[in-house]
Symmetry: C2
Subunit: 259 residues, 2 copies
């Protein structure tokens, strides 16, 4: 019993929902390192970013429980799942927050829209080392097993206290059966365009579906996460909670007559 | 006609909904500088962060139109409003994206949860100077008129091209009738706790309402936005789209065996 309480507690969530293969695979990879609690949305919540639910209440339900893995579903957003886990579910402070494995790429500026990375940011805000893991495989039966040695290395790194305070990791794997290794990257820049498809309602009027194409603005810059996954590497991008632009000029202060 | 087409186009959104006083006041302040198009959610969408709507379609409706202000409501998230405006509504590229005036503080790490700042980030991603404006006044008839000279100064600053590419502004005003001036700040750090209130359903089971208290971890640090608004200043915090932690150590690269 004593030994069991000493095992690190690993909190896991995702934005594809508790039934997704990715989060269940991640729980199986993490359980070698500690006790695992999964608190994940009750349905797909892709593109939730760091949204929180303030206008309606949130419910949580224990789905299943084994010796070392407990899985809960929650009606809230991915970030709600983390907040509720910390406040009402975990028996002790988690040593690590993991997110994913997301069925889909979250590289470049897409961090900002990503529920997967919202979870990692929230864990970071709670002062706990946090890692979001995404794969370019989007299908529901995606093969994530080849990511295991990478995930294990990242978990060990985080549990060893090597992740700086206020920084989490955005990990993105290409859709390959073999990787060339792990590459430390910067967040790629770029823009979405042709984002909406207009449809006509049978009773009149239009409605729009979000779609779009992503256009990188980095060219062939080898330092970006987008380049890394396009070239067979598992991209590791350190993401800061503090978004202040410290280079914002003094000239600006003058034009704005700031103190 | 020629002159009218030369006026800058200013796109405005918010997360309190198109009927909120804040967004209508902001449109009135902005119209001195250009033609204004408001595309705002059809209801309150606070805490939407940069969430996007991928699982259901989005609709948009023209609510009213004057010579220089057009107001649309949209069933999507704040970021959807911006995306839809760019793709399907604006007659030419906006020169400026404004967000707010939010009925409530968005300082410190709350940028991450804020729909108001989600809008400004989205505008920045589209390559357009963007500013989010929030006030600590939360009531629906909040008096925002004393913010006018500050908003005007900020609009002029942005239209003059003085905002660096990839950086937007998070502006937060205290609930005072008079301000001490504008202060350039960094994003305050801190944590929410006691975040959920548990209630019992009459037919059994629990549900949770998101609530909580914010605890700053900056002490009395005068460089933060939180300090500024607590001391009567309008806080101006430059926010970067690129969240890469460029200080992430080489030692980390070694432990992770990165290339």
């Amino acid at each position: 019993m004593y030994m069991q309480e000493e095992r690190p507690l690993i909190l896991i969530s995702n934005d594809d929902g508790y039934m997704a293969k990715g989060v269940n695979d991640l729980a199986e990879m993490a359980v070698c390192f500690g006790d695992v609690i999964v608190v994940a949305p009750d349905k797909g919540r892709s593109g939730s970013a760091m949204a929180i639910t303030s206008h309606e209440p949130v419910r949580v339900k224990l789905i299943r429980e084994t010796d070392r893995i407990k899985i809960y579903s929650c009606t809230g957003s991915p970030v709600d799942c983390v907040k509720l886990a910390f406040d009402a579910i975990v028996p002790r402070k988690p040593a690590l927050v993991l997110s994913g494995i997301n069925h889909g790429d979250n590289s470049a500026v897409n961090v900002h829209y990503s529920g997967t990375m919202g979870i990692a940011m929230e864990g970071t805000m709670k002062g706990v080392p946090s890692i979001g893991v995404s794969s370019c495989y989007t299908q529901h039966d995606a093969p994530f097993e080849n990511l295991r040695p990478y995930v294990e290395k990242l978990i060990r790194f985080a549990l060893d206290g090597k992740l700086p305070k206020g920084t989490c990791l955005n990990v993105n794997a290409p859709a390959c059966s073999e990787f060339k290794g792990m590459k430390l990257c910067r967040m790629g820049m770029g823009e979405w365009y042709n984002e909406w498809e207009e449809h006509t309602h049978p009773r009149g009027g239009s409605y729009y579906w979000l779609t779009g194409e992503f256009c990188s603005s980095d060219g062939d810059d080898e330092t970006t996460d987008k380049w890394a996954i396009n070239h067979g590497y598992v991209a590791v991008t350190p993401i800061r909670l503090d978004m202040t632009d410290y280079d914002f000029g003094l000239s600006a202060v003058e034009s704005l007559d700031c103190v």
